[in-house]
């Protein structure tokens, strides 16, 4: 595998590359408009841009740190950039004057680093008139005669002040480009986060689905049915019907929030019928449902996992089997659902499955009724077995 270069290396490359492109572009523009000589055009171009090359990283950092934007903070940041922009522009212009104008402040002779000098050495050409040429780009009518003599200091200060304003827009161009890059990055990040959240949601939905219908239950039922196909086709037929009812409910209504209790009881009955075929008289189911509750809205498939828990962890481990009692009643503004089994009891069960099944029920009830709108309790039943009670607001469907 090829090793990727480190990120900073890449960014450095972008930075220098972008700078080179800018130099070329400015040189081309100059060559067309003001400086027909390519060499001088380039020299002007990079002498203009090198100070920015030095200052720009700071501007980029500052823009990332103090983002432009709306609101009080955004305004404060904008104000900051307005001020810092002036300073940066002044700094850049100062650098330019110091490094590239041979008669910069405090210099009586050509500076050590001067592109002009290099060319003189390279090309053996006589030095061209310099100071005005340095200002060629500026075109601000700063009147300084050509010649090697030092320009008066006050003139340089005035020049510096004026040129500062010339550099000022460049500061804002850098800020704008950086802001745009940052915004693009933010957008991409947000998109990625949205995708991640989407993925997690799907996973959660799948988990819910798996909890609602245990694979063990599904495949054991299919196994039992494949036996019945030979020995009792009528019963096999019924099993397929019950299983279809359950699967349809999980697939269609898995995302629906609530159904009338009567529908929920039908689903539960389909499940119980299957279990009774599988385990014969080992599982006895008794239900006592108040008729005024039949239209109450209950979370879809909230009962089946609880009853399944009672059977799997309470009744199944006991060779002689047992009972599951379901009671539903209205208590003032609440609906109370109680599932009791006389199985081995949670204390003796080695399975932690109860906890998982109940936390699923809790999560769904909390999503529907808020943290304080429901109650789920799990307690040992006197004389062996387990009691689970759900309490949540009694809601009739809006007619």
């Amino acid at each position: 595998m090829k090793q990727r270069p480190p990120a900073w290396c890449l960014y450095g490359l972008y930075y220098v590359g972008g700078f080179a492109v800018l130099v070329v572009m400015l040189a081309m523009q100059l060559q067309v408009s003001q400086v027909p000589d390519w060499e001088r055009a380039f020299k002007h171009s990079y002498s203009q841009l090198i100070p920015w090359l030095i200052v720009a990283p700071f501007v980029l950092w500052l823009t990332a740190r103090f983002r432009l934007g709306h609101g009080r903070q955004g305004m404060a940041h904008t104000a900051l950039h307005l001020v810092v922009g002036m300073v940066a522009a002044g700094l850049v212009e100062g650098l330019f004057i110091t490094c590239f104008l041979p008669n910069g402040p405090g210099m009586n002779g050509p500076p050590d680093f001067s592109p002009r000098d290099e060319i003189v050495h390279d090309d053996q050409r006589p030095p061209p008139p310099n100071f005005d040429e340095g200002l060629l780009l500026f075109g601000d009518g700063l009147s300084m005669g050509p010649g090697p003599q030092t320009p008066p200091r006050p003139a340089l200060v005035v020049h510096w002040m004026k040129q500062l304003l010339r550099q000022y827009p460049t500061y804002w161009i850098i800020v704008a480009v950086q802001s745009m890059l940052l915004a693009t990055r933010d957008l991409r990040q947000k998109e990625r986060q949205a995708l991640e959240i989407q993925g997690k949601l799907t996973q959660a939905q799948l988990n819910t689905l798996r909890l609602q219908l245990q694979p063990h239950f599904l495949f054991n039922t299919l196994n039992a049915t494949s036996t019945l196909v030979h020995s009792d086709p009528e019963k096999a037929d019924q099993m397929i019907g019950h299983l279809s009812t359950l699967l349809r409910a999980v697939l269609d209504e898995g995302n629906a929030n609530v159904v009338p209790l009567s529908r929920e009881l039908d689903l539960l009955q389909a499940y119980i019928d299957i279990e009774q075929v599988r385990f014969g008289d080992r599982v006895k189911f008794v239900k006592d449902v108040a008729t005024d509750c039949l239209h109450a809205q209950v979370p879809t498939l909230i009962l089946q996992p609880i009853v399944e828990n009672a059977i799997r962890h309470g009744i199944e481990p006991r060779a002689e089997g047992g009972h599951v009692w379901l009671t539903v009643a209205k208590h003032e503004s609440q609906i109370h659902i109680t599932v009791v089994d006389d199985g081995i009891g949670q204390m003796k069960s080695e399975n932690a499955g109860w906890g998982i099944g109940l936390s699923n029920a809790r999560a769904r009830l909390e999503a529907l009724y808020g943290a304080n709108g429901y109650q789920v309790t799990l307690s040992p039943r006197g004389g062996g077995g387990t009691t689970v009670q759900l309490a949540f607001p009694f809601n009739q469907p809006q007619a």
Binding site: A224, T227, H230, S231, V277, R278, R318, A319
Partner: protein
């Protein structure tokens, strides 16, 4: 000689399924049936079947518990074919080179293939080989062996 097979499953219909399928295979005889792990241990000890079709999820003692208990008692280990509803255990069993496992609903052809492997295993000179392998399987699957 017919090979003696024991069927262990807590569901009557699960046992019936295996019985129906075995009835079509004349080389195998059903030595017995039971619906729980404890009973399976007793039957294996008394009947000494050559092959056991063993369900994993059972009320009193699960399939792995049965094997652990047989080892503890020092009972001659039969060839064991796991029969399970879901691959959560079977995949592990496969990784540690179990004799075989079957997924429910059990298919006739698949059962036949498993029994073929069992027969090959039995025909080998060193029947201990299978025993050691199965012991390894159990050890890796159940790091915390239940004590009785």
């Amino acid at each position: 000689m017919k090979m003696q097979t024991l069927i262990v499953d807590d569901e009557a219909l699960g046992r019936e399924r295996l019985r129906l399928l075995l009835a079509k295979m004349p080389e195998f005889d059903i030595a017995g049936e039971c619906h729980g792990g404890q009973e399976a241990v007793e039957l294996i000890e008394t009947l000494s079947p050559q092959i056991v079709l063993l369900d994993i999820q059972m009320p009193d003692l699960d399939g792995f518990g049965v094997i652990a208990e047989l080892q503890r008692r020092g009972v001659q280990m039969p060839i064991i074919i796991f029969v399970t509803a879901y691959q959560e255990h079977a995949v592990k069993a496969f990784e540690v080179n179990a004799i075989d496992y079957l997924l429910k609903p059990v298919q006739g052809a698949r059962l036949e293939a498993a029994l073929d492997r069992a027969r090959t295993q039995l025909a080998k000179d060193n029947p201990k080989d299978g025993q050691t392998r199965l012991a390894n399987v159990v050890e890796q699957m159940q790091p915390k062996t239940t004590t009785y």
